[in-house]
Point group: C2
Chain length 473, copies 2
């Protein structure tokens, strides 16, 4: 029925740091203090079975061929149980010798209903592909990420991906109508509903949204696509300080309300970094803070009037010092590319970079960047703060003077954890727990909550065979 690929792991995994003179990253199991579970080792009998069930060309055992599934985007950990392998907390890659089941051939769009806006597809469909399909019917997939060209919807669902337009369309728990899931015992769980309202019994699909493949393997997805906004405007604004950014947020919600589709914050360091590393300048000169605003709606004139009225008021109230607006697709894309180039640029100094994806209540949204900059002043080049401020989601990156070591990472983890707990934030806003944050779970969750999570894991996967070493250690 499904076009599945199954690969066996090569037996090597990498660590969060790497020796740049080596071509391959270090083994995960060597870098992190983790013990292999009491699982069977893969033998020729298993391989033969997989080949019989899936076909010879669907099983990869050659180490070179398996390489791209074993190293994730950040080259941080090194194995792949599923999806587009665009995760950044090691949730999609194995730790020891786990078998990788890739969804990449499960890429069929099953249906798109124009009247209801419901799109049903296999888990391996690339996000951009299904959004392009939705666009043919004036619909939009209500999720948009930097990785949209390679991430897969099954992985998005399993990570509860957030992204750029959560502000407008809400989260996946609200937009996913149904899932087909393969349980640990191989049984297919058909929750692939296509109705917006269905209150018949427990809403099982939510178990699998954000549980990172540890409770079940998502194979099909049904998603509600709203009308595609016809007209997009963006504004790129320069501000004097973070306090003005907060006040601007309030004015934005008040004046732009229903047409607001994204509010991104970029700090001076982030902008300066891409100027120097990527060669992209701010279109309005240098300011301590920038906001990138996107509006989208069904009437071009109305959108512009609202945006202009907001801009006039924000300049008049001295909330905003300078700004530029765009509505032509090329210019809109130019402005968005500033934001997108930040994580791309960081790739160039990956071995010296530490990153955190946190949620912080707005009052402390930038305080924590200052805290970290102060804490890190002797060993860091720069500390960067940027992200989806409209949803309280901050991406916090630290560029070190030297290559990252285990000890330095551990110290920063502890420092940031302590601040996040104090500010009542979250240590993972949208990237999930994966492997790298699993050890923090017992520091951030009350025992009663952790117990229910572990009970659920035991119920759904009694032998612990689904994505082991992830979420819990």
């Amino acid at each position: 029925m499904f076009s599945k690929v199954l690969k066996t792991y090569t037996g090597r995994a990498n660590g969060f740091y790497r020796n740049l003179s080596q071509k391959l990253p270090e083994f995960t199991k060597n870098v992190f203090d983790v013990s292999r579970g009491n699982y069977n080792y893969i033998n020729d009998g298993h391989i033969d079975y997989f080949r019989r069930v899936l076909g010879t060309n669907r099983v990869i055992t050659n180490p070179e061929d398996a390489e791209k599934y074993n190293v994730d985007w950040f080259s941080q950990v090194r194995v792949c149980p599923q999806g587009g392998n665009t995760g950044v907390n090691g949730g999609s890659i194995p730790v020891f010798d786990e078998v990788i089941i890739s969804t990449e051939l499960m890429n069929e769009i099953i249906s798109l209903d124009e009247d209801s806006g419901v799109l049903v597809c296999q888990a391996g469909c690339i996000l951009e592909t299904i959004d392009n399909k939705a666009a043919t019917k004036d619909l939009i997939v209500p999720l948009d990420l930097g990785a949209k060209g390679s991430c897969q919807i099954g992985g998005n669902v399993s990570t509860n991906a957030g992204g750029l337009r959560l502000l407008r369309f809400g989260n996946l728990h609200g937009n996913i109508l149904g899932l087909e899931v393969v349980k640990a015992d191989g049984e297919i769980l058909d929750c692939l509903g296509t109705l917006k309202k269905d209150n018949t019994g427990y809403h099982l699909k939510h178990l699998f949204i954000g549980s990172e493949g540890t409770l079940g393997f998502v194979t099909k997805v049904s998603i509600q696509c709203p009308s595609r906004p016809k007209y997009i405007n963006v504004a790129f604004l320069g501000l004097q300080n973070f306090n003005k950014a907060l006040k601007t947020l309030k004015l934005l919600r008040y004046r732009l309300g229903e047409i607001l589709s994204a509010i991104e914050m970029i700090d001076y360091c982030s902008m300066d970094f891409i100027k120097n590393v990527v060669g992209q300048q701010s279109p309005i000169g240098d300011y301590p803070f920038y906001l990138l605003i996107e509006t989208s709606g069904s009437n071009a004139l109305h959108n512009e009037e609202k945006l202009n009225s907001f801009l006039e008021e924000s300049l008049q109230k001295a909330l905003v010092l300078n700004g530029t607006v765009a509505n032509e697709p090329n210019k809109v894309q130019d402005i968005w590319s500033i934001r997108e180039n930040i994580p791309n640029g960081f790739q160039k100094v990956a071995s010296k970079m530490l990153y955190y994806d946190v949620s912080v209540p707005l009052a402390h949204y930038y305080t924590i960047v200052d805290d970290v900059a102060d804490y890190a002043k002797d060993i860091s080049e720069r500390v960067f703060g940027f992200g989806h401020i409209g949803d309280g989601n901050l991406h916090l990156h630290i560029q070190l003077k030297n290559d990252l070591t285990k000890e330095v990472k551990s110290n920063f983890d502890s420092f940031i954890l302590e601040k996040i707990v104090r500010y009542k934030g979250s240590i993972s806003a949208e990237h999930g727990v994966g492997f790298t944050k699993a050890k923090l779970m017992d520091k951030i969750k009350p025992p009663s909550t952790l117990k229910v999570m572990k009970d659920l894991k035991k119920l759904m996967d009694p032998n612990g065979i689904l994505n082991p070493y992830k979420i819990f250690i």
Copy 2:
């Protein structure tokens, strides 16, 4: 800590039909074929314990005082485990001699953060009360029901209530940020997060949204409140047939997009019924179908321009035959009162009324009303179809010539179930399963799905003490 009320059940329950010459409805246990579980009977020792823990005035055992908790809004079944008791499938009332824990004194609004729009409150807060609180900060609670003046947010969450503006704000799975829940073993589960993005482990709160109090007792709720739309417009339109209504829906989404906040359908029979029974006339004369459209947004002029442009086009394309619009609050309320008076009017003929709350894909949304009218032609006065067509949610009511009997109900249940299964709809769109639909669960869910649901129930409530006889029988 919490102001709880605990009452013992009087020992009487009613059925879905009743003898109008009697003051009290019939016992549930006598009407339905259901056996009492192997639970302890309440004795004086229990009552003393409750009094000691909660205080003497928090325990009600006098039958007269307990009456209002034992009969629900439709006088259909007869006991109350929690909430505002506005449910219509018997989910909120006991079947045998269950103890009722009412949330009505847990009515404290704990916090409202203006910047983030997060409202945190106890479960017994009345929906309208928290919405009024949100309004003081230009925010809106993203849920609106006919019962908003008496339903409680804890009950709304437990039923996954849908209501009038789901079209605009999405469902509770998307809008509830956190819950505090008391487990069956008395342990408090603190998932009362206030962050829009928090991907740290399993998203436990979703277990309790829509599980009707059978997995845990919701005691506190944290909800994301968006900006309150400043300007509301409504249009009341007359149409020639259902096919034109479908085409109008498409044009509505295309032209009104982001400002659409509700689309309700009313058929001729429903309108005619409230003319005769409630004395309220259609403001535009008689038509086979009516649509009530609500738009809401941040700029009055823009809203009106969009709505007028839609109306011109819909008249020009002969989709709509006639219509009236309103923007003054009183007139807006007058038009909404047409829709709200339909279920209110039905109360007057409750003993002869059968009702279904179903989801149906749009292509068959009204086909099922015709199917039922045809099936029921000899024994019914009228068949009514109305509801949240923008979300595919139909309220289907049948007024019989005679008082409802068990046999007639059973026949209709089977007929509608068969149609709903064929049209790939849902037998409960927003009202839940409760007691009255529990027997249908094994007819609509695959065994694998039912098994996971029952496994979850056993995990969270091993002794089956939370809202027994509900969802599963």
